[in-house]
């Protein structure tokens, strides 16, 4: 069984083909087994790739579930516009859970530092409940962060949306257990085995459109904690901050008040691929003020029901 015949070479698949096939299988599996799934769509690169894969999974039929956006109110304008355009093109139903409305109603309270990362979790859980959603697709990848590295593909959540990392269901082969009782739910991660580089190679290969902030442009920026922040309606320089023009792009799209840009000259997907291949710092390390709060910040947020 160890000879390299032309047979086996001919039926080889590249790593991107493997990952694509696996993700499509996972998406179909959840939809087949869950009554009311939905896909979390933020307009960020991972969720765009995931939505693209969902289109492929059910073509030529429509995507058989709605998409959900938890709107922190701290969005980049380009990303919101992009979200609306994509949703319209695909003809999918968009459910928006508004963090601002939840604050106005007194359902959650604004955190002292202004970050809405933590308070978006109860809004996410409430939105899912209000719409009777029993499963959510997320674009999280295991290579992003050490708590995410521990996550199952089908991640069971109790009736409070909580993750219990010490007591996860065994997950063997590609036999996913999506069984739940009423009130419980599944978070499903089709991109679990993708890295940031895989995502970009796929975007480049498949010519997938992304919000413009993922590409380098000359932008007005200022420095905070050594990171580049662009000026927008949510992010203003302080009185002492020096504002200058720099060619930057975003590696992740999160809360616009907290997400930093990185210096870059990459204006096309192929150029971003080269840049990502050479980088020595993770996307979260490079761009997220919020994960630096504590060593276990992500694990704690996930236990509360975050992605």
């Amino acid at each position: 069984m160890t000879t390299d015949t032309s047979e086996t070479r001919r039926y080889g698949l590249s790593q991107l083909d493997h990952l694509e096939a696996e993700a499509i299988y996972i998406i179909r599996e959840l939809v087949a087994e869950n009554e009311r799934p939905a896909l979390l769509f933020s307009g960020g690169k991972d969720s765009v790739v995931m939505l693209n894969l969902a289109v492929r999974a059910f073509a030529p039929g429509p995507i058989p579930f709605p998409v959900v956006h938890i709107d922190t109110g701290h969005n980049f304008d380009e990303v919101l516009a992009f979200r609306d355009r994509v949703v319209e093109q695909l003809g999918v139903r968009l459910i928006v859970g508004s963090v601002q409305e939840a604050i106005d109603e007194g359902f959650v309270r604004e955190e002292p530092n202004g970050s809405r990362n933590r308070i978006q979790t109860p809004v996410l859980i409430r939105t899912a409940e209000q719409h009777g959603l029993s499963a959510l697709f997320g674009g999280a990848r295991r290579d992003e962060e050490k708590a995410r590295a521990k996550e199952r593909v089908f991640s069971f959540r109790d009736d409070f949306g909580q993750w219990d990392p010490k007591n996860q269901r065994p997950e063997l082969w590609s036999l996913y257990n999506g069984r739940i009782h009423p009130g419980e739910s599944i978070r499903c991660f089709p991109l679990s085995n993708w890295t940031e580089l895989d995502i970009w190679q796929y975007i480049a290969r498949e010519d997938i459109e992304l919000p413009d902030i993922y590409y380098a442009r000359e932008r007005e920026v200022f420095l905070r904690d050594g990171m580049y922040f662009t000026i927008n309606q949510h992010c203003r320089p302080g009185d002492d901050d020096e504002v200058f023009v720099e060619s930057v792009r975003y590696r992740t799209v999160g809360d616009a008040t907290l997400t930093a840009a990185v210096p870059s000259t990459a204006t096309t997907p192929a150029e971003v691929v080269d840049e990502v291949a050479a980088t020595r710092i993770t996307e979260r390390g490079a761009t997220r003020g919020d994960d630096k709060v504590s060593e276990a910040a992500m694990e704690d947020r996930k236990k509360e029901g975050y992605f």
């Binding site: 096939a21 059910f58 962060e145 065994p170 993770t282």
Partner: protein
């Protein structure tokens, strides 16, 4: 570039996580911010060295206890390959998580502490790896720095393993003495062990030949989902799924199981167009010539090469729940895309993982036990021996009250 999936195995504290950390570190696959975080945590705890196990032991509870609890998946690539690593826990309490990580692996690294030799848990993991038929094995004799890089120790443990493994079914075992702590024989060959002539671990991982592990002979296409758009696409009706083995082409005569209805492949679709052939692990959509009744859980195969259609299974089961498996109990079963219910008819024996002796006819199978079991299912399943087909030969059992995944089964030759 292809993908190699590998998993670690072995007893608690044998150095699995440290080895993965070392492999990532020495192959320059760690990002600077990750390394800084790990260095800071290690320094804060007063470790003598930076504890590279922290690169995979990412949970709070793992860091408190200094053990791995659940599988961590890590990714790296070299110019030769992309690697998906599953670093699994050695502690017996978390055997289910080790099984999770090993079930999809092309290769397992079984670590043994050079000072201790094979432990019960090393034997249990070796048995599980053999049961799961992970095609390639590396026996990594670790902590060689603590036994003066002794060739004798290396030989003793290799022989002990060969003795034990003689009763298991391994086809490809490579033994490497190494030190996860110092990096000897991990990425580059060790100067401390010039008596060892084999490759470094990374060199072996980059070059082990896996393309022929796939089954390109038996066409098995479990239907996952029926695609039947209602919006003016005419009468488009097709069957979505992943090819688990074999090569399927338009024009092929097929039959749908379990009904046995014959048809022919009209086209193989993807969102990007039609394909001339589909093979494992491609996710595609198959259209048939005839209006046959096909739904999720059915399997499309070639008429001259069929799996066994049966309600009676004979399988090895690894039990993963604190509530033991009992004769006469019923569970939900999931096999390929088909779900049914299963009754445990008989437990033929439980395997003693230390001696591989068979204890006949126990009344139950407790947590972490491995046994040979016969089951009767409420619906026919289309099965192949696990030995021949990892996907058509495996199933899981689910407790219908708690919904927990409680058993992993591999179908034995009928």
């Amino acid at each position: 570039m292809d993908i190699l999936r590998f998993a670690t195995a072995g007893s608690v504290d044998d150095g699995k996580s440290t080895l993965i950390g070392r492999l990532l570190f020495d192959s320059k696959s760690i990002f600077t911010d990750q390394l800084e975080a790990v260095e800071a945590t290690s320094a804060q705890r007063g470790d003598e060295y930076t504890d590279l196990a922290l690169l995979t032991d990412g949970l709070r509870a793992e860091r408190e206890q200094g053990i791995t609890i659940d599988v961590a998946y890590r990714y790296f690539s070299t110019p030769k390959r992309k690697f998906i690593i599953a670093d699994t826990p050695g502690h017996i309490q978390y055997t289910r998580n080790m099984v999770t990580g090993a079930s999809t692996a092309d290769l397992a690294i079984i670590l043994v502490d050079a000072r201790k030799g094979l432990q019960e848990q090393s034997r249990r993991h070796a048995t599980l790896v053999s049961l799961l038929r992970v095609p390639h094995i590396v026996l990594a004799i670790n902590k060689m720095d603590l036994v003066d890089w002794s060739e004798d120790v290396y030989r003793e443990i290799s022989e002990e393993f060969v003795d034990f493994a003689a009763r298991l079914e391994f086809t490809d075992v490579t033994t490497i003495p190494l030190s996860a702590l110092t990096g000897d024989n991990v990425v580059s060959r060790s100067a401390n062990m010039d008596w060892f002539e084999g490759p470094s671990l990374l060199h072996h991982l980059e070059n082990v030949y896996i393309a022929s592990d796939r089954n390109l002979v038996d066409v098995r296409f479990p239907v996952q989902y029926v695609i039947r758009p209602q919006n003016g696409q005419g009468d488009y009706r097709a069957f979505a799924g992943q090819v688990i083995s074999g090569v399927l082409r338009p024009g092929d005569d097929v039959i749908v199981l379990p009904s046995g209805l014959p048809s022919r492949v009209k086209a193989i679709d993807t969102a990007k167009g039609e394909l001339a052939e589909a093979f494992s692990p491609m996710s595609v959509t198959v259209r048939l010539e005839d209006e046959v009744d096909v739904s999720r859980g059915d399997m499309i195969v070639r008429p001259n090469n069929q799996p066994t259609v049966t309600q009676d299974l004979d399988a090895m089961i690894c039990w993963m729940d604190s509530e033991p498996m009992r004769v006469g109990a019923k569970y939900a079963i999931k096999h390929t895309t088909r779900s049914a219910r299963a009754l445990i008819k008989e437990i033929k024996y439980e395997l003693d993982v230390n001696t591989l002796h068979r204890h006949r006819s126990p009344s139950d199978l407790p947590l972490n036990a491995i046994g040979r079991v016969t089951l009767r299912t409420t619906q026919p399943l289309m099965v192949d021996p696990y030995q021949r087909n990892r996907q058509a030969g495996s199933f899981i059992l689910i407790d219908e009250a708690t919904n927990r995944t409680v058993g992993a089964g591999t179908i034995t030759e009928h």
